[in-house]
Symmetry: C2
Subunit: 466 residues, 2 copies
Amino acid sequence: MTTTPDGRPRRMLTLGAVLQGAGGHIAGWRHPLSPPDGELDLAHHIRVAQTLERGTFDALFIADVVAISGTDLDALHRTARSVRFEPLTLLAALSTVTERIGLVGTASTTYNEPFHVARKFASLDHLSAGRAGWNAVTSVLPQEAANFGRDAHLEHGLRYRRAEEFVEVVRELWDSFDDGAVRRDIAAGRYYDPTGLRTPHHRGEHFAVRGPLSISRPPQGHPVIFQAGSSEAGKDFAARYGEVVFTGQGTLAGAQRFYADVKARAAAHGRNPDHLLVWPILAPIVGDTEAAARARRDELLELIHDDVARRLVQDTVGDVDLSGYPLDGPLPEVGETNRSRSRSEQMLDLARRENLTIRGLARRSSGGGMITGTPETIADHVEEWFTGRGADGFNVGFPYLPGAAEDFVDQVVPELRRRGLFRESYTETTLRGHLGLPRPVAIARRDDLTHPSEPLADEPSRAGSR
Amino acid sequence: MTTTPDGRPRRMLTLGAVLQGAGGHIAGWRHPLSPPDGELDLAHHIRVAQTLERGTFDALFIADVVAISGTDLDALHRTARSVRFEPLTLLAALSTVTERIGLVGTASTTYNEPFHVARKFASLDHLSAGRAGWNAVTSVLPQEAANFGRDAHLEHGLRYRRAEEFVEVVRELWDSFDDGAVRRDIAAGRYYDPTGLRTPHHRGEHFAVRGPLSISRPPQGHPVIFQAGSSEAGKDFAARYGEVVFTGQGTLAGAQRFYADVKARAAAHGRNPDHLLVWPILAPIVGDTEAAARARRDELLELIHDDVARRLVQDTVGDVDLSGYPLDGPLPEVGETNRSRSRSEQMLDLARRENLTIRGLARRSSGGGMITGTPETIADHVEEWFTGRGADGFNVGFPYLPGAAEDFVDQVVPELRRRGLFRESYTETTLRGHLGLPRPVAIARRDDLTHPSEPLADEPSRAGSR
């Protein structure tokens, strides 16, 4: 981290990028420069990861759901949303062909066990010499529940209580071995110092996990915790545990409100608000001129299939049946009962205000966070949000890959560097280092039961102690 | 696969190797040529993997338990058994730095969900272009149960019933997409052919998994299934699902009995017994002379710490307290009640017959499957077991790494090739190809509910239909 003339650490822009097959836009896979079999093409993923590393991105990020995510197979088979690598295996593969970029993967706290999650991310952190990050999600799709023996999702509040306990257990497991406890003293025949091993003995509302974890403390202490909650419970979770918080924000004013809100919540939990970074989503399409950039965007929007367009509008405004309506005609009246959330209302208002056709609304709603511009105007946007405290950085979702990422790295990143906003080269080796986040001190020894001569297997169960 | 003069496929030796930090022997990490931080040193693992690939091994294999595996911390901190990479992340990392060798990892059917396991191995199979294998284990340690909210293990028979259902679900999930269903027809806007997608809708005794899996059918159809059961239930499981079966066998006669037994069981299940390969464990130490090989072994045995030696004997003969007895004195009388299994009795008989000290017995019992010899005599052993139908190949557990693997590849592999037993170079690209195993045909469509226009989310639950 660089410093200001008076020696204080200087606030620097940070950037992550979503690594998502042929791109984040629903029609990205149909882009003329899209790679064949992009979703399962390792060479393509390596190429994008190395491009991002050339652009000194802090991290690449793999979004995930544990299901086929669409609700309508008719539309789904016309998108690339149903096929993807499992995140941790992909990140581990990328760890050997990259050197500095952070490797962030999604894992659900609702459909996993803390022991497995702690172990996989600790392993990735060791494999990558300190570049792992965990995007903790509570999962929202009913299709995910159905893959794990549940007929319905856990209720929202319960999901977050489980998530909190989950993260607590994972952090304790990461601290099983003290830093430096695994000394490998060959002469003395001591692989680790037994006083540096902790057994968490966790028993809570949702989990009973004895531990310890069978891996040395991760190089970063704890892999960096990412989060994307926007509900009250979600923001509170972010404020307690999140170190990078993703958010979708349409306006600077909205971003500033969110930014101030979660930073204040973090401070209320006794945390340094600088140790929670806010990353709105940004989906940039760059052109040499504004018109060229818009033309690129419009080319992409042209590729939205009619079935997909209809489904996008149905998903956006509520489940109204649009099958009888021409796509290039106006949106029919939508009954109040079908409207649910603020986004639906916003989109309906937009459609009326701008006289959008069904197809026009589909195109608009497909481009979440998509902005077009020259390298300068996109850098202006980034700078305005960053200096205006609507963002500490961005989670960049390239609409199509690899093209949009290459354009950004070759054209926007140099402009951001010219303005002194973004690093010229990596100065640190770990993801925490890039992000200016402190390395966590190990959670204090909570349990003195563990000592060298205690047999691990024979300890009496503590069931019933709560 | 090569053929005999009359055109039938010729039976060829197959070889796997355990990739285990500084080696399989309990004192391997203290070997003078052991790498620093071997258990979490990726460069070391890459070096060993590439050595094995130079030796045209069929597969490398990562053993695993989901716990710190020792029962005695006093001894445990003097071994390297408590620290390891998580298998799937390590295998995925190795997939990018190897080209042909199979990548086999352990995952428990008792402490995992079928959806996650199916997905991870399918992802590894795609990352490695068809080199993934899954060693399905039911888990035996009480410490593992305690990491997943259970006070005790599932009863043995129940574990195997769960394992069978688990494997059935995993195979159905692997078949979610038909081969070739993901066509990526950009012009028509069809990412996949909707008639080629199946939703398993599994509901059984242990699992309810709707599916489908969010990944194209694996390149191998199904990753290769490895297994190591030795109980009646274990052997029956192997005969039904195992494609490679690991086994620990001390004598050729015992290996032949096991071989004949599981092949007959496979045939009784309607399988071609050639499609189940038996791999006894082999732990070779090579020397230019027999005496040199033995000296290498003895150097290694010298490195067993006294505390570890005592624990090894206690674990072997039953939990007798040896703390009062000198290691270089005789084994005390062990009461009948403390003896449990045939191995204990064998070891006690051995100790009496050969007048072994406690340390002597520890050294003997530490070397499971360890044999010493020249390249010729080790090749003799391999050839005898292979031609005598005690083995189709071996699971080679090198006592120390990388040394023992390098010696084997440089000295024993050429001898096996000279004898026409082992391939000169890879002729296939997938693990199934190396092993001569057929690519599974997709499980027939069991459920006609899924058709293109069926919404994934809204189908009525089938709870209560059993």
